[in-house]
Symmetry: C3
Amino acid sequence: MKKHSLILAIVIVLSFAQSAVFAQTDTTFTGAKATLKSYNALYIINSNDDKRIRGTLRNMANALQDPRLAGKLHLELIAFGDGTAVYMKNSAYEPLLLALKAKGVILAQCNNTLRERKIDKAELFPFISFVPSGNGEIILRQYDGWAVVHP
Amino acid sequence: MKKHSLILAIVIVLSFAQSAVFAQTDTTFTGAKATLKSYNALYIINSNDDKRIRGTLRNMANALQDPRLAGKLHLELIAFGDGTAVYMKNSAYEPLLLALKAKGVILAQCNNTLRERKIDKAELFPFISFVPSGNGEIILRQYDGWAVVHP
Amino acid sequence: MKKHSLILAIVIVLSFAQSAVFAQTDTTFTGAKATLKSYNALYIINSNDDKRIRGTLRNMANALQDPRLAGKLHLELIAFGDGTAVYMKNSAYEPLLLALKAKGVILAQCNNTLRERKIDKAELFPFISFVPSGNGEIILRQYDGWAVVHP
């Protein structure tokens, strides 16, 4: 009987302890959970403001390092309008772009902007890809189920 | 027979009236319809501009009061980068934040920004939650099926 | 026999040419693919900055002309807050708006903003539609599966 009482007491204590843990888990919000094996996100840059460009590139690096997404996240950067500045050969962003490219990031430029602004592809870094329009890319990627981030 | 004719006449008139109502409904666009029982949305703030911060908080209150969404909408606010200003203890946003929190809004801060800018959690309002990175949160919430709004 | 050899030669040359085209297509990223029959996108304007307004309207026209989406894309523009400027009768945007409307674009205004700023509907162009709140529209359209673009 003593043994049974002891077991009963342990069960009661454990169930209380579990409730306490559950209560703590419920009251402390620590962010969304990553339950899938892979994630895709399209980042948008359409400004030539140096702070915004650097912020966007840093945000991409941060997303790749988020412990919830590390090793599961594939990124694409689409530049259009004034944002084309990020890919111009005379810009200072080459090392930041190459660091992202080394992590598998696709660097894409809107062809529409090049045509409207009479910019030759040769004026951009040689490691850039081209898409028909930045806006089409944004719409299609959302339909592909990608997350879209415009910092 | 007269009675039947009367009923027939009423039916004809009513069906015409219904067509008229349908025609009016079809030609007048009054916005998307809320057909689900619950909705989730993540709001983003990454600017310390007072007008933008107040605009974002007002937008959240407006979304909660939209007659299509009232009582069905759950919100989260994620602050990162310069947007961390909204949660700093010395800021003027406490009453606006507490009003949102009273309506069930989760107020979340990016840990990455705190680390990069050497901001201690104790410098923020005590009712804030923390997530590994704001960008990870934006990506994961979209995969969770949430709407994401960056006003 | 000569005839057969000629045909064979042509087939060989054509298949090589095709391989070359495929090789180029495979190694060069050219953007997301449009595999569906129709697409919907909501564009957002909440700024009265002339450059941003014109940029948003131009972006919409560009998306409609993207060869991947041409003839498949249906657009809605939602204006709220300062963005209401785009629909004011005294503005210069009427021809641009009418050009979009002629392509089937829904032009929608947030009623909430009109109430908050005491703007009468009669002050806006007569071809505008109204929705309860711009923020509600943004959330509901994402749940409808629409792409949302905030240039």
